[in-house]
Point group: C2
């Protein structure tokens, strides 16, 4: 299923929100704006800060600020920051230390072309691309909106 962590999705939402405002924004503020629970938002932001996607400012009146423009952030960067390096299988690159029986370990550099293809595909899609898909559905008041099955 190629599962992608929910945190990564949250990260995209948070980053887009971060891009929409001027100054720094606080975790609680973003949480309120996005509907994502505050502790989770905080966790995501900390992760993104560690990945150099956002900058943080401590203390009162502190908050987070986007480092680059949305168009300069490929999805692969977000995934790498939140979920770690993009790799389909356990032992792909450097972690080829203990692959059971070294000789016939089924996993080899075999998935490398696949990894590369995915990495390449994800590098070409930026958050700006995802933002446009987000806009029509977003911005709608949380209230009302019985069932706006927009996507698809």
């Amino acid at each position: 299923m190629l599962r992608l962590s929910k945190l990564t999705d949250y990260a995209v939402v948070v980053l887009v929100r971060l891009a929409g405002m001027e100054g720094v924004q606080t975790s609680p503020g973003i949480a309120a704006a996005t509907g994502i629970p505050e502790p989770t938002v905080a966790k995501v932001l900390k992760t993104l800060a560690a990945g150099d996607l956002v900058s943080s400012q401590r203390g009162a009146k502190g908050g987070y600020r986007l480092n680059r423009d949305l168009a300069a952030i490929p999805v692969s960067d977000v995934i790498a920051a939140v979920d770690g390096p993009i790799a389909l299988t356990a032992c792909v690159d450097g972690s080829a230390s203990e692959c059971e029986s070294q000789g016939l370990c089924p996993m080899r550099g075999r998935w490398d072309p696949v990894n590369d293809a995915i990495q390449s595909a994800l590098s070409r899609i930026t958050l700006a691309d995802m933002q446009v898909a987000l806009l029509p559905a977003f911005r709608t008041p949380v209230a009302q909106v019985p069932f706006q099955s927009a996507a698809e």
Copy 2:
């Protein structure tokens, strides 16, 4: 991390092995040849049979046979057969039933372009491509095993 299930990797190994022989092959035989535990091989083969990638023949002298050539099997098909439909997030396609608050569900059709890009990339890589990366490493130890089923 875009984790891919181990079963999918096993599936590739099994399929490549299946392509290397002429007649039908049994689960125990493939298990011995690949080093993958027998029950796991059986499970993978059953899954692959359900996905129409291999055909099965019951009874004594039964076994499995590859349906298409390796070059005609894109990786995406294997992943879809083993891990289910390729989708990065939980609610992408039909499962848009209960996305928490319907109004501001962060996940939308937003990841669709990403999904499409990955799907497209995976469709262009076939098992034949992965086989070449496998060959040099394979063929080594554990050979010797005379798993030659009785008559052949």
